[in-house]
């Protein structure tokens, strides 16, 4: 009946196996850490990583003893154990009930506090505090690539996000077709891009380098090819890049935008040296074909185009 007691030899072999497994796991875990969201390069990602690790630690402090107790109690009170006292009618203890309701309750109160404070501190639409003025970037998800418009620089890129280091970036996001999620794991917070609506996101990257970006919401057949590179440049280099791109490459107007919206995937990065002003709002309003006309600000589709109270 009792599977553990009958084979004492299996203890020895499991010990060896577990030691090998342990070594293997620790090697894997060492290589596994320091990537993606565990290696944030900006304050938002850093704060989120801290909350992730703190919350995990708080819960592990409860869960590991519970797991040990599960195995220990089940094993000690096995039917064959003559030393264990059998109490066939013991089914209630007010003190224990207090504790078993109390422990989860206190844990959740603590974590709930973390969630409340964290939600407010890290609200995506909240601007970041910084001495540097924010850079504005408008993000459009297309089938199946990303368009980044720099309204102040008058340039646009496809599948290549370039931002200056230590500078808050204020993103306005929308989608030209279906839903996607804009996500650069090492920057932090991801957010939905939704057609006819805008969302807002504020991120900052402090370490120069090239980071992977992706769509984190399935959007159709070309979805896995919606990857892009996010490049963080020192501030002066960013200025040089923006200057150099100005006027270079094609112009992004209604015609070239129509060309760009054709479904393609795994698109190589490219740059547009000029961008028709108001393109982003025209995409949100689905009026790109009338881009040369002024966009009516009170158009009903723009009016409701706000996913966040402060968006749109």
């Amino acid at each position: 009946m009792d599977p553990f007691g009958r084979h004492p030899s299996c203890f020895r072999s499991t010990r060896v196996v577990s030691r090998i497994a342990l070594t293997a796991t620790s090697i894997l875990l060492l290589t596994a850490c320091n990537r993606g969201i565990l290696d944030p390069v900006g304050p938002v990602g850093q704060a989120e990583k801290t909350i992730l690790i703190n919350s995990t630690a708080i819960m592990l402090a409860i869960i590991i003893p519970t797991m040990i107790a599960t195995v220990a109690i089940a094993w000690w009170f096995r039917r064959g154990n003559k030393k264990a006292t059998y109490r066939p009618d013991w089914e209630y203890s007010g003190a224990i009930e207090m504790v078993v309701w109390g422990i989860p309750l206190l844990t959740i109160m603590l974590l709930g506090g973390i969630a409340w404070i964290g939600s407010h501190d890290l609200e995506p639409s909240k601007p970041l505090a910084s001495a540097n003025p924010p850079l504005r970037v408008e993000v459009v998800s297309l089938d199946w690539k990303w368009l980044f418009i720099y309204p102040d620089q008058g340039i646009a890129t496809v599948n290549q996000l370039v931002v200056p280091e230590k500078t808050p970036v204020s993103y306005r996001l929308t989608s030209a077709t279906v839903w996607n999620v804009f996500f650069v794991p090492q920057f932090g917070t991801m957010i939905y891009t939704m057609p006819r609506m805008t969302t807002q996101l504020h991120l900052q990257a402090d370490r120069p380098g090239v980071y992977d970006g992706l769509s984190a919401h399935f959007s159709g057949d070309g979805f896995p090819g919606m990857e892009f590179k996010a490049q963080v440049l020192p501030t002066d280099q960013f200025a040089t890049w923006a200057q150099g791109s100005r006027g270079q490459g094609g112009a992004l107007d209604a015609a070239s935008y129509a060309e760009l919206t054709k479904p393609t995937s795994y698109v190589k990065p490219m740059t547009y040296g000029t961008v028709s002003p108001g393109l982003f709002d025209a995409i949100v309003a689905d009026r790109v074909d009338q881009l040369h006309l002024p966009i009516p600000q009170a158009a009903p589709s723009v009016e409701k185009a706000s996913a966040t109270p402060s968006g749109g």
């Binding site: 009946m1 599977p3 894997l28 596994a32 990537r35 993606g36 969201i37 704060a47 989120e48 990583k49 992730l52 919350s55 995990t56 819960m59 519970t66 797991m67 599960t70 109690i73 089940a74 009170f77 039917r79 059998y86 009618d89 013991w90 089914e91 209630y92 224990i96 504790v99 078993v100 309701w101 989860p104 309750l105 844990t107 974590l111 709930g112 973390i114 969630a115 407010h120 995506p124 639409s125 909240k126 999620v181 794991p185 932090g188 917070t189 991801m190 957010i191 939905y192 057609p195 969302t199 992977d212 919401h217 399935f218 057949d221 979805f223 896995p224 689905d286 409701k304 996913a307 966040t308």
Partner: protein, 668 residues
């Protein structure tokens, strides 16, 4: 004449669906011929297909669930294989249009046609027995519910042979699922199949809430009901509150697709965020519809195999009802990243965490049920302990996902995929396997092979951890879900471990079939003659295995929380059974083909709607109404089991019980 249907719908050029179709068709034909040749057809027709017996319907639900498990698992292993192959330069063996159908079908089938029928199957089989009554409140409707569920399953699987399935994920988010972006019939298959099976599910809930609240054995007050009945009640109340919302959501999407409405479209003022809200108003409670009955199974298993009453029964009931209510108020945590604002995110995040409190209480109560017990390490107990060890981890990651700022970086990621498999496999599937082993002897009169059962457990336990722990890691790397191709070659080792895990689970599923066949073959060695093979505590163990159609010759009088245990202890103490009661004839519902005919017309109508064959759709509706009226016109819905038969059966049972009682008193 045939709407959108043409020969192009048959996948002549795709070997995978074509060969699968042929194999399935041949298998169905083969089984049909075998049944016919062996002369089992009448028994199958009268004993199961048209049966209004809750036990037979429960068994049919579970058979459906196991069949669909094989289908859903085939999808799973194909996905794992594709992700292991399609890394870097390689595109793997599945193009996006196939891969996307497979993950959509996997989710849809596993939730709607594996987990749901499995859970509902147990409710069907167990609840009336535990309540000490003879059937559910509405036996005919019960049969109709089953066949409507089966009809949905049929349509989903038909999409493999004729046309295509949705390529939009298991919740078919618009605008991707709108006609503009998904012009094929795939989404229509999804919508129609779920609508039909959804009707069946709502009827089931009506049936079980009525059964539990209005038909219980004499003396069984609310606080004497077994915990499985309580959790079933909670699950069915959630179904009543949540499934109508699913019906509406899918209906609105159908109106968009079929009639050009603008609920969720990009143009015309449509609002796709509304779909997201509506579908999760159903979708999150759905999780608890599955997991609450699972908790009920664990409670039964824990008490029985610890040889002790469940610790903190009232606390357990309270925790169940808290979960039942709070589960309906947390849906927004599925889209914290939509930009709803800090207050809304925080409130829904905390509400989600609150569910962790009663769930944690349950874990501790099972722990203290074992404390002071005599724990027998049977297969169901393996699953219980395996669950307790696994589920706390799934709970941990669940609470993490409920913290909005953490969700901001792991939303929709492989971390999420790992989390929900963690709780659904570790929580629901383990319970279903435990329940399958636990109640199998009650259904068929012999136990399942223990050794193979433990091997199956280890396959699930090890396989699950290998398959999903790597996905946590990849999720922390920023890996997202539903990727037909992976660019980063450094993912390969983790994906290969995950594939290995899936293969081990696959071995477990194969062993389940082996165990069943082997146990049937060697059943003489493990016959359950007493009807109480596990030294049980609830009323289902009072009657014989398998129970007679009417379950109990006389409805048992209930005198305490563990109705059967008390009765058994009294009998052992007095070395005598209670006095023979005055037997009476029993009125039982007759078999009826209503359900299967209803489902036939529903399938016909559904298929017609999918392919825009309008005359056939109208024919289906008229047919369904005609069946309904025809049934309503019948006068005889019951037959009487004569008192002689009842008495003879009951005396046989008493004789067996007496023998068992003597053997017990001799051994102690």
């Amino acid at each position: 004449m045939l709407g959108k249907l043409s020969w192009d719908a048959i996948p002549f050029h795709d070997p995978i669906p074509l060969i699968t179709s042929l194999v399935v068709i041949l298998a169905v034909l083969g089984i049909g011929i075998w049944v016919w040749r062996k002369g089992y057809w009448p028994a199958l027709y009268h004993g199961y297909i048209t049966s209004t017996d809750h036990k037979k319907i429960g068994i049919m639900y579970i058979v459906l669930a196991l069949l669909m498990l094989v289908r859903g698992f085939a999808d799973a292993i194909m996905m794992r294989l594709q992700q292991s192959l399609a890394i870097g330069a390689s595109q793997g063996y599945l193009p996006p249009e196939h891969y996307n159908q497979i993950f959509s079908a996997h989710g849809t089938i596993m939730i709607f046609f594996v987990a749901m029928p499995f859970v509902i199957g147990f409710m069907n089989f167990v609840v009336p027995l535990q309540l000490g009554v003879r059937d559910v409140a509405f036996p005919t409707m019960n049969n109709v519910s089953f066949w409507l569920t089966a009809s949905g399953a049929l349509l989903i699987n038909l999409s493999l042979f004729i046309g295509e399935f949705a390529r939009t994920g298991w919740l078919a988010y618009p605008p991707l699922s709108e006609l503009e972006f998904s012009p094929g019939v795939g989404v229509d298959y999804y919508l129609v199949a779920l609508q039909i099976s959804g009707v069946g599910t709502v009827l089931t809930a009506v049936n079980f809430v009525t059964t539990i609240l209005k038909t219980r054995a004499p003396g069984m007050s609310y606080l004497r009901m077994p915990v499985f009945c309580w959790t079933s009640l909670a699950a069915n109340l959630i179904i009543l509150a949540a499934f109508p919302v699913l019906t509406v959501t899918l209906a609105l999407l159908m109106l968009d697709r079929y009639m050009g409405f603008h609920f969720f479209t990009n143009d015309g003022g449509g609002n796709s965020m509304l779909y997201m809200n509506l579908i999760w108003v159903w979708g999150h409670p759905e999780v608890y519809i599955l997991v609450l009955p699972a908790f009920g199974i664990y409670s039964e298993v824990a008490a029985t195999f610890s040889g002790k009453p469940l610790f903190g029964y009232r606390s357990m009931v309270f925790a169940t009802m808290v979960i039942c209510i709070v589960s309906l108020m947390v849906w927004l945590h599925h889209f914290f990243t939509m930009g709803a604002g800090a207050n809304i995110n925080a409130i829904f995040g905390i509400a989600s965490m609150i569910i962790g409190i009663p769930t944690g209480v349950k874990i501790y109560n099972w722990l203290f049920t074992m404390y002071g017990g005599r724990v027998r390490f049977t297969v169901p107990m393996y699953y219980l302990i395996g669950f307790m060890l696994t589920f706390v981890g799934g709970g941990l990651t669940g609470v993490l996902l409920a913290i909005p700022p953490v969700d901001f970086v792991v939303h929709n990621s492989l971390f999420l995929v790992a989390h929900f498999h963690h709780v659904i496999i570790g929580g629901v599937v383990f319970a279903l396997m435990a329940g399958y082993t636990y109640w199998f002897p009650k259904a068929f009169g012999f136990t399942l092979d223990e050794r193979l059962g433990k091997m199956i457990f280890w396959c699930w336990f090890i396989g699950f951890h290998l398959a999903f722990m790597p996905l946590y890691v990849l999720g922390l790397w920023g890996g997202t879900r539903r990727m037909q191709h992976i660019s980063d070659p450094s993912w390969a080792p983790w994906l290969n471990v995950a594939l290995l895990g899936a293969v081990i689970i696959g071995v477990g599923i194969v062993l389940t079939v082996v165990q069943l066949l082997y146990s049937i073959k060697t059943r003489e060695q493990r016959l359950d003659v007493t009807g109480d093979p596990w030294d049980g505590r609830t009323l289902e163990w009072l009657t014989l295995s398998p129970p007679p159609h009417y379950n109990f010759a006389v409805l048992p009088d209930v005198h305490g929380e563990e109705a059967y245990w008390i009765r058994k202890q009294t009998a052992i103490k007095q070395d005598a059974l209670i006095d023979e009661p005055d037997y009476q004839p029993i009125e039982m519902p007759i078999d009826t083909p209503t359900g299967v005919i209803c489902a036939f017309f529903a399938s016909l109508c559904g298929f017609a709607v999918i392919w825009h064959i309008w005359w056939l759709a109208i024919l289906g509706l008229v047919g369904a109404f005609a069946v309904f009226v025809w049934y309503a016109w019948q006068d005889e819905h019951e037959h009487i089991i004569p008192v002689e038969e009842v008495r003879a059966n009951a005396r046989e049972r008493r004789r067996i019980r007496m023998e068992h009682l003597h053997s017990l008193s001799q051994s102690t």
